[in-house]
Amino acid sequence: MAVKQNVKLDARRIRADFPIFEQLEEGKPLAFLDSAVSAHKPRQVIAALKDFYENSYGNVGRGVYALAERANAAYEQAREKAREFINASSPREVVFTRNTTEGLNLVAYAWGLDNLGPGDIVLASELEHHSNFVPWQEVARRTGAEFRVIPVTGEGELELDELERLAGGGRLKIIAITAVSNSLGTIVPVERLIAFAHERGAIAVIDAAQAAPHRRVDVQALDCDFLAFSGHKMCGPSGVGVLFGRAELLQKMSPFLTGGGMIRRVSVEKTTWAELPHKFEAGTPPVAEAVALGAAIDYLEGIGLEAIAAHEHELAAYALERLGELPGLTLYGPPLERRAGIVSFNLEGIHPHDVAQILDAEGVCVRAGHHCNQPLMHKLGVAATSRASFYLYSLPEEVDRLVVGLERAQKVFA
């Protein structure tokens, strides 16, 4: 494998940070090739959680006493880390959510319900994860707007020459698009779509669930209006995600969830809202989870997003090469240059579920199914695929073990 960058990470050393890899599965070391679903956690993140609960736990924004101040400071420091991570211009633009899905729904409800109506167009794509598809479909249904999708090619790339036609004959109000496809690894030219949206007075929402953990995301460079991602896919804990929103838009919007912590003044007659970002964080937030997400950001930044992307690129190259040698194996997705560390495939005559089950017996974990991408599966003409996805702790020998497992599956079903 050619070294593509001069920054290079040492996956074997990194791996030692992850307690999960100490165990054996079926007597074999864990070849975890399912990080696109959720990533494992380094001990630094687990320790941050434990330390917070043991020494600084408290609710935020409420208490006067020192412990509450400490908890609050830790929470706001995590917000600052998240801000820096995506280069938002202010922490007021960084809202903690549960996950990407909630962030996208927040925009669909709080922006969509008040800003969409009959004659408006909501544009997503065939690549979208259900979490960036169904919320737009639903808000279009509720408001009478029209939901349209940008088609993809057989290789899973957006058919951008369709854009003009799709945006025509109505008022384009919003484009919701993923930065990286979770099924095929397609790296989407989101800048172009964001510019297209802005030229037409529409806003652009970016699903960065598969981008933020793996490559540098800069919301100011992208010039997007909203961008969502999940902590659990980037070595952080479950239960926390981030929604970036441009302050100007967040300010004008109605709140989404209402209740404690997001109000300015409440009375039967009239209730007013707290300042950003608190207006969008009703109730007790995932305090410890946000703090531990901060630790995950430190961890990733310590290694470098560029090094992580380069490492995954090498693994994707190697996987495409090795899998391409297997007879009866179909690979999906774009060419390597426009692909992140995700490889989807099918073995002739064997359902992905069965493939995954047989691989599991070899200690190899892959995802089998529609990957929350049914419209894309439909387009590819399959019900499901098997998918291997890589992260900073993935090793080339895990690709070798994948190949061995696939050969075994072929034997079982021969």
């Binding site: 359902h351 579920h353 069965d354 047989i358 017996a361 199914g369 529609h370 019900a383 499901a384």
Partner: protein
């Protein structure tokens, strides 16, 4: 024998590769369709009753899915022919042929694979519910009215 060889044993692979009662009856007395939302597996079942209006005389499946879901449906279809709707609606999951076989072998299906293996049973029960008013399994409650036209 490894657990994989146990699961993908001859009998299951045979039902997968050559499913019994495969196809679609037209006309049919009962029909239902179901999905496993986890993996997108889908089954359509059609069936006909005998003269008594409650004994299953013919049944046919079509759809797509993993070896477990397809073999389980195929094996079950052999079981239900000749039995009454109420009887079939009362079949416990552990008594379906594939599931029972795995329990007996000492390596029962894991919860997620169990969902695959029970898709066929669920869809049959929905079909019977719609045509004969028999009860639905709890996990399918509400699904038929909402999802199936």
């Amino acid at each position: 024998m490894s657990s994989i060889d146990n699961l993908y044993r001859e009998l299951i692979l045979d039902h997968y590769k050559s499913p019994r009662h495969h196809g679609r009856l037209d006309p049919a007395d009962a029909e239902a369709e179901g999905q496993n939302p986890l993996c997108g597996d889908e089954l359509l079942v059609t069936l006909r009753f005998g003269a008594d209006g409650e004994t299953i005389e013919e049944i046919a499946f079509e759809g797509h899915g993993c070896a477990i879901s397809q073999a389980a449906a195929s094996m079950l279809s052999e079981e239900v022919v000749g039995r009454k709707a109420a009887e079939v609606a009362a079949i416990d999951k552990d008594d379906t042929p594939l599931v029972a076989m795995m329990i007996e072998s000492g390596t029962p299906l894991t919860p997620i694979r169990l969902k695959c293996a029970l898709l066929g049973l669920g869809v049959i029960k929905v079909a019977l519910h719609k045509s004969a008013g028999t009860p639905l399994p709890e996990e399918w409650t509400g699904i038929d009215e909402v999802e199936f036209e």
